[in-house]
Symmetry: C2
């Protein structure tokens, strides 16, 4: 039987997270109130508290969802066989995934300091899992003599920072297509680590 719509029935987790994401990306976590988020969802603040205990939980949920989607999307990505093919897949995937989610990406980097210690540790563990994917590719390629990387940990951090940086300047409809940006960045990544 279909569920009846009503003032509470209309609030859903995804709608709350979407509203919170927009507001936090625009104004910053510290400046956003639960009341504003409720207004953005279109409900009373009291109704919001039935779904989300507090702002900290909301921030943690946003960042965890972002990281879990990132890891799941990479799992689903066609990756190729060789370390070189995998590195290309990773570089292009990283740019594509983050350009499609500017608000979530922005929050993930900007609001880390606002996570409480236990939440911070859980997000850091998810980030570490993602970094380990790239480091694994670099290690495999180094062992095979395809890459020459004196420190795979540093190269991992360097390449992720470089690739995520696209989000700070890329504008849709600007002079370069996403495909062209992916290609140019992949070329720099490849040359930075090649053996």
């Amino acid at each position: 039987m279909a569920r009846k719509s009503g003032s509470h029935g209309e609030i859903t987790g995804p709608r709350i997270l979407a509203a919170a994401e927009r507001l936090i990306a625009r104004k910053g976590f510290a400046a956003v109130t639960m009341r504003e988020i409720a207004r953005e969802v279109g409900v009373q603040a009291g109704a919001l508290y039935l779904y989300i205990p507090d702002k900290q939980t909301l921030l943690f949920d946003l960042m965890r969802r972002h990281m879990e989607e990132l890891l799941a999307a990479w799992e689903a990505e066609p990756k190729g066989e060789t370390p070189l093919e995998q590195l290309e897949a990773f570089a292009r995937f990283h740019i594509r995934f983050h350009l499609a989610r500017p608000d979530a990406t922005f929050i993930s980097y900007m609001e880390l300091r606002n996570l409480e210690p236990e939440n911070f540790a859980r997000i850091e563990a998810l980030r570490k899992r993602y970094e380990d994917i790239l480091e694994g590719i670099l290690k495999e390629g180094s062992a095979a003599g395809v890459f020459r990387v004196p420190d795979t940990k540093l190269a991992t951090m360097a390449l992720i920072a470089m690739l995520t940086g696209v989000n700070t300047w890329y504008r849709e409809g600007g002079r370069l297509s996403r495909e062209r940006v992916e290609r140019i960045y992949w070329n720099m990544v490849r040359r930075a680590v090649k053996g």
Copy 2:
């Protein structure tokens, strides 16, 4: 004649900026009040307003000072002659300058969205001047056939993001010295653009 010390005489621009920088880096611009900054300086809020009209001016002053120091420090840096020597000087300088100023660097990236439009435009113009230095080196090296860079603008953004990223993970007393980090990053930069 020596100036007498007193409750007002003891507030100076640099002390206010230093206190504001510490607080804003730790808590975020939106969460910090002029009252807290006054407490950190050790004066009444009223005394602070004699020196700084508002929080926006404080944020702008911090970001402008950071960019002006960056540009002045690069001017004073020994740069070498060839594009390759200049690129090495730039890569090492960028890492060294920003690692020495973690709070100012953090604020410069995190709080851009909190600048009012006119202030934002002025900071952007200073950032552009800095980016133009690196792009100039890449263009010169490309023209000389030393570098192979299909898009000097993109390479500039990619390299600056990579180099600034060191600030997000480097810890003093960790497994790598600054010199070793500089060397490894310079190597990746060189290989990413070499002809």
